[in-house]
């Protein structure tokens, strides 16, 4: 039941600064957000001893949650809160990656500032960077909390609510070794690409798309940063007019006033670029999110390839075992098989030996059939789940990026209008010279 009105939707939108969740909640989503408000309210610097007993400075983020009951009277007004640092978010995400490999897991904001243009700081401790990261972390939590599958995870819930003991809890799930396997699977997948005989066309296309998305968004971010840098230069140089007009006006009689006021407008023009570009960073952050999403997409494709590969391998193994059984039953010996060689060297087997072998083979074939069936089911289920999440993702992506472009266009329009205003004011001053 879509709640387009009502208290939950209102809270959702208040939790959703970028308006990324849209107006309609997917019907199937029994998302956590319906029951709970989540926000990353603050950021603070802490100093402490790290694992190697050295003093380090790091930032912690305050996660606030508030239960939302359908009945308004039981509203709990003071939120629960706990502090987490970035590395804990990373742990959570890695756990989710391992546990739900078919899900396109929302990305975290970048660890280190990249695609910076010269005015932007690359320092992790820089307040602007910290602020943008805070927003990014909140966004991450909201995305997870609104995902139909991820939002029901207990570890995620505990991340939001249990300050102490969460780390141990997540470690106990044993996800970390699997994480290594996941990383290792990357290598395997590289090999798998060449060996999968019947690749699923849809996944091949998806992988191709994810590569393209990654390449194009990273290129866009790089060029955009350069564009911002140049634009900054253009605006700032105009500030020099302010000073020289002021100096010039000192030696003029009638022209003085006009020049002086025009100079002030030039100063205002030069100063206006700072806010303009700060706002544009939000657009860059939205693009970055999808750059990282592309990576998550790739991971899902890789996992599928691996499963496919394992399936094909299992099928192949089974087939060869069956073939061996055939040979054993019919007594035919392929001249160049090992059996052929051994029998030549060591003589024919006894019927008892043959029977024993047959039994072993039958067992193996039985196991093989089961394994194949397992793999098949696993693969099918994976494909089903992954594809469903892919569709959800596509809808989200199209909506989000469309919104991002609209807001970018709005920013450009606002910048143009400001430009027209300033130059019109300056023109008036000039005409009074």
């Amino acid at each position: 039941m879509a709640d387009s009105g009502g208290p939950e939707a209102a809270q959702l939108s208040s939790n959703d600064p970028k308006g990324e969740l849209g107006d309609v909640i997917p019907e199937e989503a029994r998302s956590l957000l319906r029951k709970m408000e989540i926000s990353v309210a603050e950021a603070e610097k802490r100093t402490g001893k790290n694992a190697v007993n050295m003093l380090e400075t790091y930032t912690v983020y305050l996660i606030e949650t508030r239960r939302v009951d359908s009945s308004a009277e039981n509203q709990n007004f003071s939120p629960d809160s706990l502090w987490r640092r970035y590395s804990e978010f990373e742990l959570l995400r890695n756990y989710l990656l391992v546990t739900y490999p078919f899900v396109i897991v929302p990305p975290l904001p970048e660890k280190r500032a990249e695609f910076v243009w010269h005015k932007l700081s690359a320092d992790n401790m820089d307040p602007d960077f910290v602020e943008r990261r805070r927003i990014g972390l909140e966004n991450f939590l909201l995305r997870v909390a609104s995902h139909p599958i991820l939002s029901n995870d207990k570890i995620f819930y505990d991340f939001l609510t249990e300050e102490n003991g969460w780390k141990e809890e997540v470690m106990e799930t044993g996800f970390q070794p699997k994480l290594f396997i996941l990383a290792d699977s990357r290598l395997k997948a590289l090999n798998a690409t060449f060996r999968v005989k019947n690749p699923d066309k849809r996944f091949t296309e998806l992988k191709h798309y994810s590569d393209e998305l990654q390449s194009v968004t990273s290129q866009l971010l790089r060029v955009r940063a350069r564009v911002a840098d140049r634009l900054y230069g253009v605006y700032k140089v105009h500030g020099n007019y302010g000073r020289v007009f002021s100096e010039w006006s000192a030696i003029e009689r009638e022209m003085g006033d006009g020049l002086q006021s025009a100079g002030h407008h030039m100063d205002a023009y030069a100063a206006s670029i700072d806010d303009i570009l700060e706002e544009e960073e939000n657009y860059a952050d939205q693009l970055k999110e999808y750059l990282f999403y592309a990576e998550a997409l790739k991971a899902v494709c890789r996992k599928h390839e691996l499963l496919q590969y394992e399936l094909e391998t299992a099928a192949q193994d089974l087939m060869s075992k069956k073939q061996q059984r055939e040979e054993l039953a019919s007594g035919t010996v392929r001249t160049f098989s090992l059996k052929g060689m051994t029998s030549k060297l060591f003589g024919q087997e006894t019927p008892e030996q043959r029977e024993a072998k047959m039994r072993v083979l039958e067992e193996q074939i039985q196991e093989g059939e089961e394994l194949l069936q397992e793999k098949k089911t696993e693969c099918d289920e994976y494909v089903r789940n992954a594809w469903s999440d892919m569709e959800r993702f596509t809808v989200q992506k199209d909506r989000d990026l469309r919104e991002a472009m609209i807001s970018y266009a709005v920013m450009q329009i606002s910048m143009c209008k400001k430009g027209i205003q300033v130059w019109t004011n300056a023109k008036e001053c000039f005409s009074k010279m």
């Binding site: 866009l220 020289v244 199209d398 209008k417 023109k427």
Partner: protein
Amino acid sequence: MKIPVDTVMYGFDECHSFVSAANQCTCASSVLLAKYVANSPYFSMCFDDAWITAGQFLPHSLGFRCLLHRTFQQYSFPLTTSLQAPACMAFIHSYQDLSLPNGTPAGTSSPGSSSSLLNRLQLDDDLDGETHDLFVSVDDPKKHVSTMETYITYRVTTKTSRTEFDLPEYSLRRRYQDFDWLRNKLEESQPTHLIPPLPEKFVMKGVVDRFSEEFVETRRKALDKFLKRVADHPVLSFNENFNVFLTAKDLNSYKKQGLTLLTKMGESVKYVTGGYKLRARPLEFAAMGDYLDIFTQKLGTIDRIAQRIIKEESEYLVELREYSPVYSSWAGCEGELQKPLEGVSSCVSSSSSALEELTEDMSEDFLPVLREYVLYIESMKNVLKKRDQVQAEYEAKLEAVVLRKDEKSGVPADVEKCQDRVECFNADLKADWDRWQNNKRQDFRQLLTGMADRNIQYYEKCLAAWESIIPLLQEKPDIKSETD
């Protein structure tokens, strides 16, 4: 005293009597100062608070033309005005009516007079009543290729009702060399005046293409401005060389003649240069010099800033040109987002084009004017220096006389001549200075307003592009119902 229409006035006596007559005019507290410089067609007079400067008797003219200098007001007597002093005064007081002293409205003067052209006054900033009877323009550049050289000529068109010109219209072709010759001649023959500058003579071959459309057009505009400024100048526009420049079919043979009509008029225009050092520049002219120094500085700074802006904008343009195609290639791998991304790509392209136009316009129209003024100021400073020398000569000669302690009464004629020269120069310079200030104000108002306009147009173009894609971006895609 009535001056016959066709008489050429040169005599001191005539002027003297005119002055005495003017002395009897009814204006209270009129201060009359009449000096006539021997062999010079110039004289200065002062009526009341109206300072008539650089009056010039013109050969074969119908009277005299003078400037009424009052702050920025400059004015010309219609040529048929009789020179009776009361008539002059009445005319001065009624100049706002633009009518003749005898009551007839200005438009009904004799056909040869300048006032008939008042009706054809173009509505430009020059609405202070200055008579416009000489219109010039420079256009239609063409390349000439000969075995010796390749060069550009410009069509110079003249339309006039002045009787100094044999025909009412002229159209002939001139090249930069000719303009340069003209300017040198003007500087030579009118050393007390500020001669407008020409565009730069020397162009670095290999760096700038002398035959490119932009360069030729920039130069043409500057030459047009130069000629118009000369034509608008009440004294320079009557210069013989200017006349020849506008009318002579074969300018080169004229140049070779070496003799100019001006030498007939008088050699006094050749002022003694050098040899005399001025002790102190009078406050007024010192102020001019200071102003010019500071102004040059500021112009230089503005030029550098403008160049820097163009450079930054060009680099911004380079990045924009890389930016737009990325959106296009992204569109290529998207489904629903294809149209929106293409839309953004085209907006960025539109912004690029608009920016390119802006930088080109600024390069072509803004920078040259600044440079022109720097050249103008250089030549003005030289004129100031010449003035100093003339004054120095006078003061030196005067001192010599004083030191001689002659009992002879009065000051010798040549010292008086020097004094006249100084006063003439000062008067001319002051008039031209005010004129220059006025023109400068208009020029810069126009220049800076133009700059603002171009930036506004640039932003308006970008705004239009971005606003046009908002509906495209907001278009909800068709929701197709899929049956699996």
